[in-house]
Subunit: 340 residues, 2 copies
DNA sequence: TTGAAAGCGCTAACAT
DNA sequence: ATGTTAGCGCTTTCAA
């Protein structure tokens, strides 16, 4: 199994060693027919013996296809994103594709620069996960196949869009709080220009309206965009509480914010869930292990990832997608725990 | 800014449009000298006007250099790994490299297959993060430059090794528990063939010895390798407790296990930290937000990532490394919180 | 069923 | 300072 050859061997050399032409070797490797069984056997033997490995760079140049997918993600260290990327990588690997990972940092310039690089590396497709602003397909070459996850494309025509039902998540989460008796609700939110954040907020507002609870701006607690950490949420909530802005229910736009909120309430002397009920979003693994355990809205990241990859592969194989396929909303689930 | 060209333009065409040769265009693009300022201006203008973008595949084939680094990681959805990968990607991007991410799933076959693919894609180097068994450099071509993080290379000669001081982490964590008065310690551990796990365990044992606490096998609570989730830890700890295996201090090999242990103790009626003190490893963001907050050993993932990349880049630039550089141990920190 | 040859877009040696 | 040319390793047309 030792592959310690200094110089990679090429198809040309395999051809010479096998006494056939490079074309035939290529046909054998790719199982393209037009060779005899006997030839196949012999060529394969030589390939094994010499530990030949395909040079995908040369293949890519010739075929204008890199067997590589670019994945744009704001920040891979985010638990939800990394779980999606994990799924994508596994699925795409099984289909013969590699994944180039691009942390955009929510920086438009970096995103743009990365797109240029990815084009230069001839990626066969783009998976765009979340990110500020709508994704503008005109910044990539028209032939660049793209699937957006949790991020609206500017021009839905050429780009596939797939998303969790964030609106419904916000709606149901808020409804849970209301049905548990909460009357003064707060929402804690960051990254408000994110499509998913806006949708969750919209769900929150609509729920309030449905149940006749007046929505007023002071119920929205905003956390600086660049501060997605629980600490920022903790401070903001504490500030609100100290200003006399009391609430008996909090919908946190994500679990990290929820953990920060829980801590703030505890520090302020409020008990969860007795005095204030809290629900988060993303169903982080640790929701079960906080005390009290945290209720949360769970996205089906497996399905999100798999569907996105499937659709991209269909595009790559030049299949025509129905308009239903080009825009899909994946249902969410509510997981109730002690915090409500 | 619209880049919606259907056909990418090549150096050859830029050359024709500029009235110079392809070689000159190449020189201008790569700033390789041997062209006049006037030519530069003109060529650059044509490049801008026609929205030329480098074809890195062709460049790679010619230069035998892909400006791409392969990153092998057991599971990117692990918080510690993803934070390292985030750092690596950012740093390498700033140096002009892209990152192909490979989840090995701790599966030797998948790892091997990926290595073949990466070689075929002519990656300029390999960053290997953790993983079972030692990394065997003989499974890759000799010229494949490799840096191992938290994973021992089988033959230290050709591969750079860089790791946190897991041994010291285990030692200090255990010491903290002992100094806080614990006398019956337990360690909860998974993935015991991981270099890092073994080192942490070794630190635990040595601390016990140093303080004259007899080490006996029943203090080691093992969690199935494939079950790294807190739930498995919770069940194992509960089982131990019910068997009458009481302890007043637990060192968990990672934070997830610690969270599970904390929950188990709570369920068994033990108070943390009054009855049992707990310390974890990795300093997950949520250590601060659990209740009680969790003490933990913090690895310097930023430095780990940066050093690993720096060393790899040095190898790529054919710099000779000193033996000190080829094997580095990064110090850890203990973060004490309520759980002790 | 097989082979010869062209060419993907780039760089680098060599020539001028 | 600039151009000519060969060739990286592969696939694919065309011819046999």
């Amino acid at each position: 199994m030792n592959n310690n050859d200094e110089n990679k061997i090429s198809i040309k050399q395999i051809a010479k060693l096998s006494g056939v032409s490079p074309a035939t070797v290529s046909r054998v490797i790719n199982n393209n027919g037009r060779f005899s069984e006997k030839t196949r056997h012999h060529v394969m033997k030589v390939i094994k013996e010499n530990n030949y490995g395909m040079n995908y760079i040369a293949k890519s140049l010739r075929m204008k296809k890199s067997f590589t997918i670019g994945v744009l993600v704001p920040d891979i260290s985010n638990a939800f994103f990394s779980s999606i990327v994990l799924r994508m990588e596994k699925y795409l690997y099984s289909k013969g594709y590699s994944v180039i990972i691009c942390n955009t940092d929510r920086d438009e310039q970096k995103e743009l620069a990365y797109l240029r690089t990815l084009e230069g590396k001839m990626v066969d497709g783009l998976l765009v996960i979340s990110g500020d602003q709508e994704f503008d397909p005109s910044v990539v070459q028209a032939q660049t196949l793209t699937v957006c996850i949790d991020r609206k494309p500017k021009n839905a025509d050429n780009v596939v869009f797939i998303s969790s039902d964030h609106y419904r998540g916000g709606l149901l989460a808020t409804e849970v709080l209301i049905k548990k008796g909460c009357e003064k609700l707060g929402i804690i939110i960051s990254h408000e220009n994110l499509y998913s954040s806006r949708e969750r907020l919209r769900g929150f507002k609509d729920a309030l309206e449905t149940y006749g609870l007046p929505y007023s701006v002071n119920k929205v607690i905003r956390v600086e965009d660049k501060e997605t950490k629980p600490e920022a949420a903790r401070l903001q909530i504490l500030k609100s509480l100290r200003q006399g802005d009391l609430f008996d229910g909090v919908f946190a736009i994500n679990d990290r914010l929820a953990f920060g909120a829980m801590k703030a309430c505890r520090e302020f002397g409020l008990k969860v869930p007795e005095n204030v009920k809290i629900i988060g979003f993303d169903d982080d693994l640790l929701c079960t292990y906080s005390s009290p355990s945290l209720s949360s809205v769970k996205q089906d990241s497996d399905q999100l990832a798999k569907k996105a990859c499937d659709l991209l592969l269909k595009l790559i194989h030049l299949e025509v997608l129905t308009s239903n396929e080009r825009c899909q909303i994946i249902p969410i689930n509510i997981v109730l725990r002690e915090s409500v």
